[in-house]
């Protein structure tokens, strides 16, 4: 068991490092988008040098500068060069090879927790801080959704399984089909349209952080609903399938034959056993919620991590450091959720022997 946990954890780190490395190297191949303002740009390039991503060559030789100005000589052939053309002093910033940048980047991240600075969103702010400012909103939203959808999903699933092949089951199954199929941005748009604009009972946009107390809470209703519908449908479907299967199994029949009431046999025997695959499912669904909240944050103008990710990805003004740190955040959460899922199988059901051979 211990060995299994260690192996799985190491594996998670291997995947995490691979994903981040692929991400870093590929983004380094893409065109650069430094800050637009001159002053901010110089600070940015100076920092690139101190972080070890670029080299600075200072040219003070007047003859050399004259020939550079005349165009007889090229200061730098690298497409990502940045040149400050002064009267008597030229500063030439040249990127070092990507492999060296990668080593420096790993060193910066591991030893200094330096993820670089934002280049477009909030210029020259540490990218990690840009992210951490947004995490609370996103996490709050997702955790509330989690707390909201689990009981409802369970209840509907149990109801459907107990009333299998009745009108109630049909209705629930239809609802499940609809909400699993309809993309969440459609659900969210319709919710905003109906409750925000037509009935005007709920805010049509996420309230600002200084809004009045009650508005803060009502502002959470629509995004939580938008996030939950799909998740409820998924959980209902799984619960129904699992419970329906367990209900037909022999040990439930045996429990009834022993003289337990229907309620006892369902609650004590069927339900408990059907939970086994559901617990990992729920942990896994958190990842789904998190990436689903990106689009919800866009529609409802929520200042969360998803919104910051999308803004960092705005056409032709990419903010790579913010993209990197945000994707690192999503990847880490995703991978540790997977790890938890793997481990939880063994914890919920001792019959499953973790890491056993054959």
């Amino acid at each position: 068991m211990i060995r299994y946990i260690i192996v799985r954890t190491i594996w998670v780190f291997i995947v995490l490092i691979s994903v981040l490395s692929i991400n870093f190297s590929l983004l380094k191949l893409a065109p650069e988008y430094p800050p637009t303002e001159e002053e901010a740009r110089e600070i940015y390039y100076a920092r690139q040098v101190s972080d070890g991503y670029m080299e600075l060559t200072v040219i003070t030789d007047p003859d050399r500068i004259r020939s550079l100005v005349a165009g007889e000589e090229v200061a730098c052939t690298h497409p990502k060069c940045y040149i400050v053309r002064g009267e008597s002093r030229w500063l030439v910033y040249t990127p070092v090879p990507i492999s060296v940048q990668y080593v420096n980047w790993v060193r910066n991240v591991v030893f200094d927790w330096n993820w670089g600075v934002s280049t477009r969103l909030s210029v020259n702010t540490p990218a990690f801080q840009v992210l951490t400012d947004r995490i609370p909103v996103t996490l709050r939203l997702n955790l509330i959704s989690l707390a909201f959808y689990i009981p409802i999903g369970f209840l509907l699933g149990i109801l459907a399984a107990l009333k299998k092949n009745t009108k109630i089951d049909d209705a629930i199954s239809l609802g499940v089909m609809v909400f699993i199929s309809v993309p969440s941005f459609v659900t969210m748009t319709v919710l905003v349209m109906v409750f925000g604009y037509w009935l005007r009972v709920l805010p049509a946009q996420f309230p600002a952080s200084d809004a009045l107390g009650i508005v803060q809470y009502t502002g959470m209703i629509l995004p939580v609903l938008g996030l939950s519908f799909g998740a409820i449908a998924g959980l209902t479907r799984t619960t129904r399938a699992e419970l329906a299967e367990v209900l037909t199994s022999e040990f439930v029949l045996l429990a009834r034959a022993k003289g337990l009431t229907y309620r006892q046999s369902v609650l004590r025997h069927a339900m408990r056993n059907s939970m086994v695959p559901l617990v990992p499912d729920i942990i896994g669904s958190f990842v789904g919620l998190l990436s689903g909240s990106v689009i919800i944050e866009l529609i409802y103008s929520i200042p969360g991590t998803g919104r910051i990710f999308l803004r960092a990805l705005e056409a032709s003004s990419y903010d790579y450091n913010v993209i990197l740190v945000t994707t690192a955040f999503y990847t880490t959460i995703g991978l540790f959720a997977v790890l938890l899922v793997d481990l939880s199988y063994g914890l919920v059901d001792p019959r499953i022997r973790m890491g056993a051979k054959k």
Binding site: N23, L26, M177, P183, V186, T189, M193, T331
Partner: protein, 632 residues
């Protein structure tokens, strides 16, 4: 399985069939039922699924044929017909989808307001003729814009966080004369009485010298400043100067509000120069002196608004007079239309009528023309039937309305569905091919090959969607290429997994062993022996990949990272529009409040498409693989 009553049959009615006959080499009299026939029977038995499949079929057929058959425009930009609301025959008689556009918060043209009542008036940019009179509603709302529609209100000089003072000057110059006792009145409506703030008024009697302080206002209300008294006795007789106002305070974000600046003479009540409301705000400009700054804003101003219902279709396509219609254009239209036969108009001798079916109904009069370089430029005043001019026999019906570019939303939705379906099919096809190949190799060879390939697919599968999105967007930019790559990167893994399982199941079977003993190569074993046996399961498992792909595609396009208007892609030699349902919904998001139909219809269509496709996929899987029935 008919539902006959089979429970209460008396015993004596039973008899043994074939009791005395020998049946061991008798032919079956019933037809054998093959695997697919059997599946078909199972498929048809579920009525809900049959209905869903029929709807899906209708959607697919519509998406293929509707764009080809429609006469309406869904490609070109036609601003004239933009934003027409939905209009449906028959339903329009019941007040649903009747082509009436309802508009809220439209500013009223000030000149058109009835002067005696102060109400009434017409909105900007709409033809009053087509406004339903009973639907007109007028109201005023606050505004702070610096334009002429915004009426009244005060100018506010507001300090910002970094500046302790602001100085503004009027752009208008006032004429002060000592003989006429010029009095400058400034009405301050909001100013806290406090020692830490000053509000000063300056004028400049001598253009060569700096501005001179004439008054310090320290309380709200009307302050009258006798300019020449303030300047002192020895000052000049008359001068012209702008007025400067300086406000300084220790408090950040402090402000002063003034509602008017007036110049009166000879003690008269009627001012010779007056600035208030709109002119006041427009007339003040911040000087941005060193160490000073802040902003001039407007408050308590109002704007006259109206809401109304508008016969948008009549406004675009109805009969309307058009003045100054160029004769050259007139000649072109008449030449192109055989129906345009000129007949005399008995009631109007200056003009003439044109025959039925001609886009130009009537010429009312001719305007005097000019001759430039031998070419004459003249114009007519005409009445035009805009429906005919735009190529419609009568006022057209846009069932779902038109978009911001004047495209028919009904056609556009089917074009978009076609694009979505096509991308779904292409991407699912690619994913299935990759997945089957990968899964076959991994499953067939097993051992270390399998372990390495499994680890590879695990890493790929663990990359979050957002990371893939970010990498491809940054490297390739948004577009069809990016979209397809994003969908392919990890889309094949599910299929590969199923295929691998199938290979593990079949590769040890005797017929494979027999074939191998006969000398069959790996490729032959994989593609001729093992794969065909597992293909049923693989296909049913991958059918649902198509709706899943459409789902993902619409999401990416909605975020603006996929395809969009004006793009197109080539598949098998055909050009396909780059508009997908996600794109339409993203467009609709801009108009969510005012034109919900732009969101509602695409949302309905994609929902139905997804629901029916999923139901179809599930039904197909249940029919082909009854053992999987009811599973996920």
């Amino acid at each position: 399985m008919s539902e006959k009553n089979t429970t209460n049959i008396p015993k004596e009615q039973f008899e043994f069939v074939q009791q005395d006959s020998k049946i061991f080499d008798k032919e079956f009299e019933t037809k054998p039922i093959g695997y697919f026939q059997d599946a078909m029977i199972r498929f048809v038995r579920n009525k809900t699924n049959v209905i869903a499949t029929s709807i899906l079929l209708v959607i697919v057929l519509m998406s293929v044929f509707q764009p080809i058959l429609t006469s309406k425009n869904y490609v070109n930009l036609e601003p004239a017909v933009a934003f027409l609301p939905p209009r449906v025959p028959i339903l329009e008689n019941f007040g649903i989808a009747d082509g009436l556009g309802s508009f809220q918060d439209q500013p009223v043209i000030l000149d058109s307001i009835n002067e005696s009542t102060g109400f009434g008036g017409n909105p900007i940019g709409y033809n009053p003729e087509f406004i339903l009179d009973e639907s007109r509603e007028y109201y005023t709302i606050g505004c702070s814009d610096f334009n002429t529609l915004c009426q009244g209100g005060e100018a506010v000089l507001r300090l910002d966080s970094s500046n302790p003072a602001i100085t503004v000057a009027t752009t208008q110059v006032f004429n002060f004369t000592a003989a006429q006792r010029s009095v400058l009145s400034i009405n301050v409506t909001d100013l806290d009485v406090d020692a830490n703030k000053v509000f000063e008024v300056y004028v400049r009697p001598n253009p060569a010298e700096p501005f001179v302080l004439i008054s310090t206002i320290n309380q709200p209300g009307l302050s009258e400043i006798n300019v020449f008294d303030a300047l002192g006795a020895e000052s000049i007789e008359s001068f012209s100067s702008s007025v400067r106002l300086r406000f300084a305070s220790d408090d950040r974000f402090d402000f002063v509000a003034i509602s008017s600046i007036e110049l009166t003479q000879d003690g008269s009540d009627a001012p010779v120069a007056s600035l208030e409301g709109q002119p006041l705000v427009m007339n003040l400009r911040s000087l941005n002196l060193p160490g000073e700054g802040g902003a001039i804003v407007r408050q308590n101003a109002t704007i006259q608004m109206m809401s109304f219902e508008y016969r948008s279709y009549d406004a675009v396509f109805g009969l309307r007079p058009s003045n100054g219609f160029p004769i050259s254009q007139y000649n072109e239209i008449v030449a192109a239309n055989p129906a345009c036969v000129r007949t005399e108009n008995p009631t109007n001798p200056n003009g003439w009528l044109l025959g039925e079916g001609c886009p130009i109904v009537e010429v009312i009069s001719e305007n005097a023309g000019v001759v430039v370089g031998g070419v004459s430029f003249g114009s007519y005043n005409v009445v035009i039937d805009y429906a005919l001019l735009n190529g419609y026999d009568s006022i057209p019906y846009f069932l779902f309305g038109t978009t911001n570019a004047g495209r028919d939303l009904f056609s556009l939705i089917w074009v978009a569905t076609r694009t979505s379906l096509l991308i779904g099919l292409i991407v699912a096809g690619i994913n299935i091919s990759i997945g089957v190949l990968f899964g076959s190799i991994s499953g067939y060879y097993g051992g270390n090959v399998d372990i390495i390939m499994q680890r590879f697919s695990e890493i790929i599968g663990r990359i979050p969607f957002l990371v893939i999105l970010a990498i491809f967007i940054a490297l390739l930019g948004a577009g069809i290429q990016t979209l397809v790559f994003i969908l392919i990167v990890s889309g094949w893994i599910g299929v590969a997994y199923v295929t691998r399982t199938q290979f593990y199941r079949f590769k040890g079977r005797e017929y494979v062993l027999a074939s191998r003993t006969l000398g069959a190569k790996d490729m032959r074993l994989i593609f001729r022996h093992i794969l065909p046996n597992g293909i049923g399961t693989i296909i049913t498992a991958s059918i649902l990949l198509i709706p899943a792909t459409i789902f993902a595609e619409s999401t990416i396009s909605y975020l603006g990272f996929g395809i969009g208007h004006g793009t197109s892609f080539n598949f098998l030699g055909f050009e396909f529009s780059g508009v997908s349902v996600g794109v339409l919904l993203a467009d609709g998001r801009q108009e969510l409040i005012t034109r919900p139909y732009l969101t509602v219809y695409p949302a309905i269509v994609i929902s139905i498409l997804m629901i029916t496709f999923n139901m179809f996929g599930n039904a197909l899987r249940d029919a082909l693989n009854p053992s999987l029935r009811g599973s996920l």
